[in-house]
Symmetry: C2
Subunit: 600 residues, 2 copies
């Protein structure tokens, strides 16, 4: 935690830099040039300038005033962290809170200039800002220099972790094959070049992985693919001789990270034809492309290619799930004994879970920060235990545990709500409603062309009949040893048009959250596989990849239909059969018991 | 049926008129100025110029060539009717068929002019034509004169049926109340005037009905609502003294139908502020508005107002359904005896159904042309029996009967698939799958904000598990003694974003169609009503309005869940209780039997 004075000094330094550039205000978002879920420290300018450590928020500094906009998850934390800094808290999404541009309109003079760093603002955000600032009589100035460089002295470097090759034995397709598919696909738009800036798309394309970003095995870079050649823009110290020679073998040239801007300025000297960029690219990249190349904007084709897993990746996922299943069975068996013995907390059990996973071959870390919420903590959807909030686990109520791991074969994401002791009737009813929703989606069959939005209700209809709903999505894609959240397909209440296809991965994670009481979520990862082809066309279904018992102790059997009971028993049978050979005799006996068929 | 020579003479006359106006081609659509489902004879120019009588199709005449574009429903009919006319058939939606604009691009010269009548082409269609013609090097000319007037000698007049008042006892809100709501709503867009051109919107607003259009109790007109006054543009002979005085009482001035164009040209002399028009308005209206008024385009607020029925309309629907239910019970009882006795056909039983409905008070005709399809005819989704296709009904297989009526209290739409004799196992299985889908949707509960697309899967998931699907929507809105199909809400596989609200009417009509074998559909009309309000917000549910037994003879009971069996039995119990007092003893006994609870 920085002292209030330090924060004030930093704001002052920014104001001097702003004055020198004729800016009346500067907007500092929480994003980086690659729009990923986690931001490397180097780009944590919003945190550095404000002292506010939450994951979401935007700071706005004027020459005299300052504000932070953040959402309800962070109201209390932000109030504490901003105290004495001179930065005011604006509670986002409350009706009385002005938007950033409305507020700037009210405190600045007409024609005043508002600066942003084009590299860390997505084009779509910048476009919205531009429109709204103009409506408020102000001018947006998009900078291509990083204004913090001049006064942030001990700024962390760009991440320098070495990049490594993910063997074709894991990826099932070579870098060259993937690049050729990308070139063929953009050619249908009339484009002969594309810049990739999403880190997971670059990692997937090149069959490389890195360690630059928390939980995501990616590396900071841009990738230009054109008919004249391929260039990876990356800090060169991250490239070992092995990787350099591998890239050379695939005709991929390596240049330093910052060289992209320069190469864009001379684009037409080296390239003919049209350049494609994504509407999600950052504003600086967007502007450079439009200025120096014949550019079209279209969604990156890599998102969809990457979402549809090939046979090798699918088999890898199955292996990763066996490893994860073994770790989880060992953990659950331990937990059920450890809690009554006392001394365990939300944080301590997460360490234990990590140890079990770390024993597995090919383990490369967690895929996101564990959510371990006991009793009413589980009702806070994004709860993450800290030493301040941590509580002891007692032999009563339920523990919600949402966790995942990275393995060389694949990425996992699983939630179980675990019975630690006696439950209320309401807890059991809600648990069974969540289970019904989970099973209804997992066992759906659907025709080609169906999108996630169409299936979402299957996971909700049982709880809707009891006047209950959850406000998060029901399912998301998962990368193959990549990001745990990936698109473009999703299962949500709002409209997500991408059709579901065989080879896509989806989570199935309905939940019920009752503030101050309890939270329940049951999540498996599913693979879309072919079902049958009839006079009505092709139909698809789901194969559950996750292998882990669902706690039977909270189920009210009479609330399940015969079909649901059969589905659950079949799932448990396959969990037992797949994991049994990988466990010792005591673990086998425990698993046998917890996966034994439920009967009326 | 016109002779080939007559058609050729008409085409020649059109070509002369085109030449005189410098047009190289003219496009004749099937639509009229009000974009309704049924077109009055006056505007059936496409039928007149081509001799093709199908409901959908577009004719394109060049100076030397001619073509009709229509879809697969009409390929055979069109081929017969076009023979010898010189008009070629273009089979729409087949991959080898050029679009109209592609074809024109290939047969015309660069810069050639292609004419349309702006009054009978919707703005959105005209915009697409303009874009595509430009891409093909051609120019679109939007005419505001009706080119057919000069040479179509015995052209039917505009419909002249008198307009009548629908009493507030039926509508539950006065014309003035409705106009004020419309003014308040458009004011939120900054508009102070609106032109309504959709006939059902005008009828709803003014609490007037007419007889100008087949099955729809509407009248040809435009309605201008502005802060300076209200004007109904309509052939004045249709306005009785009573209606004139009623309109005057609500400050609605009456002018002749064609005066709208003139009034728009002088719009700014009489009106201040902004005029709102719908993106669905015709192109002539759209162009006049943009030329002579400060215009914004926004969906008409009346569509949504009209879709949400008030208490009086809801009660009216319940009464209309009792009448319709009585007619249907009498009919079904008769049918089950008449078919084995012999001599009945698809067409003859429709006459009988009409007679039973016509006995009901407040009956004002059918709400759409009956679909009565026996055996394999039922697999043709838009089948309408004609003397040529009509077949005798035998005591075997099933009859699909989709029909509806107009009553002063409301409009009905119901489908039953009726068992006439022995069935195959496949027929019973498919019938039960359709019933399961129907019941799952009818018994859904859902939170405020849910749209129809989200619920659609409930009606399909059971059949999807058997590799079966249907390609039509699951449900549509229904007007109150108005059009049997109305928006803006719908339940379909494609995205329909309008949230479902209490007071909206929806049909629930899944089906299974197996070409050459059988077709099954079960349809009730539902009303959205409140369910409960919880910590998760407001929830809604459906009240089934339709009162008519669902044929139990085709049900495979073991395919129904306990819940589905209970729902069906509860529905049948309420059908019996509501209709029983309105029937004679023999009918009561029959209804008792066919609505008695199904047991395993």
């Amino acid at each position: 935690m920085k002292t209030r004075t330090e924060i004030q000094e930093r704001i002052s330094a920014l104001r001097q830099a702003m004055s020198a550039r004729g800016l009346a205000a500067f907007i500092v978002p929480s994003t980086d040039p690659h729009s990923g879920e986690y931001v490397p420290e180097h780009w944590e300018t919003r945190k550095w300038i404000s002292g506010f450590t939450g994951s979401a928020g935007t700071v706005v500094i004027t020459l005299k005033d300052a504000g932070l906009w953040t959402d309800s998850r962070y109201f209390i934390q932000a109030e504490e962290q901003l105290e004495g800094t001179g930065i005011r808290l604006f509670k986002d999404r409350l009706p009385e809170t002005p938007s950033i541009t409305e507020w700037l309109g009210s405190v600045l003079q007409k024609e005043d200039k508002v600066g942003i760093d084009g590299w860390v603002n997505a084009h779509q955000e910048a476009e919205t800002l531009h429109r709204e600032l103009t409506q408020n009589g102000l001018t947006l100035v998009t900078m291509t220099e990083d204004i913090f460089t001049s006064f942030w002295e001990d700024r962390p470097n760009l991440p320098q972790a070495p990049v490594f090759i993910l063997d074709e034995a894991y990826t099932g397709a070579s870098c060259t094959e993937k690049i050729n598919r990308i070139k063929d696909t953009i050619a249908r738009n009339g484009a002969s070049a594309i810049i990739l800036s999403a880190l997971d798309e670059i990692a997937w394309t090149l069959n490389l992985r890195g360690n630059d970003v928390h939980c995501n095995p990616v590396f900071i870079s841009y990738l230009l693919i054109s008919k004249e050649g391929y260039t990876l823009y990356i800090l060169e110290e991250k490239i070992t001789d092995e990787v350099r020679s591998y890239l050379k073998g695939h005709q991929v040239e390596v240049k330093t990270y910052s060289a992209l801007a320069e190469d864009l300025r001379t684009f037409k000297e080296k390239h003919q034809g049209i350049l494609q960029i994504s509407p999600l690219a950052n504003e600086a990249l967007y502007n450079l492309s439009f200025r120096y190349a014949d550019t079209i904007v279209a969604p990156s084709p890599v998102a969809l290619m990457k979402a549809v897993k090939n046979e090798t990746e699918q088999d890898g996922f199955r292996k990763a799930m066996e490893k994860d299943g073994v770790a989880l069975v060992k953990f659950l068996r331990w937990l059920k004994k450890a809690v009554p013995a006392g001394g365990e907390t939300e944080l301590s059990i997460d360490k234990k879970l990590y140890e079990y996973r770390a024993e597995q071959t090919g383990f490369k870390g967690i895929s996101f920060d564990t959510i371990a919420g006991y009793k009413e903590h589980a009702a806070i959807v994004h709860y993450e235990a800290t030493p301040e909030t941590d509580v002891p686990l007692k032999p009563e109520g339920m523990l919600l545990l949402d966790s995942g791991a990275q393995y060389l074969n694949g990425t996992t994401d699983i939630t179980r709500t675990i019975v630690l002791g006696p439950l209320t009737e309401e807890e059991k009813t809600d648990y069974t409603l969540v289970l019904k929703g989970h099973l209804q989606l997992q066992n759906a069959h659907f025709p080609a062309g169906t999108c996630g939005t169409q299936l979402d209700v299957l996971a909700r209809i049982a709880m809707w009949k009891s006047g209950i709903n959850y406000l998060h999505g029901t399912g998301h894609g998962i990368g193959h040893f990549l990001c745990v959240h990936e698109g473009p397909h999703q299962v949500r209440m709002n409209h997500m048009p991408t059709p579901l296809e065989p080879g896509m991965i989806l989570t199935d994670e309905p939940g019920i959250y009752k503030a101050g009481r309890h939270g329940i979520r049951i999540e498996n990862t599913l693979l879309i596989i072919p079902d049958q082809e009839t006079e009505f066309g092709k139909f698809y279904q789901f194969e559950p990849l996750t292998l882990c018992p669902i706690d039977k102790e909270a189920i009210i059997i009479d609330m399940l239909t015969d079909e649901e009971l059969t589905w659950l028993n079949n799932y448990h049978e396959s969990v037992y059969n797949r994991l049994n050979p990988l466990l010792n005799a005591e673990e086998q006996a425990w698993l046998k018991e917890v996966t034994s068929p439920l009967k009326r």
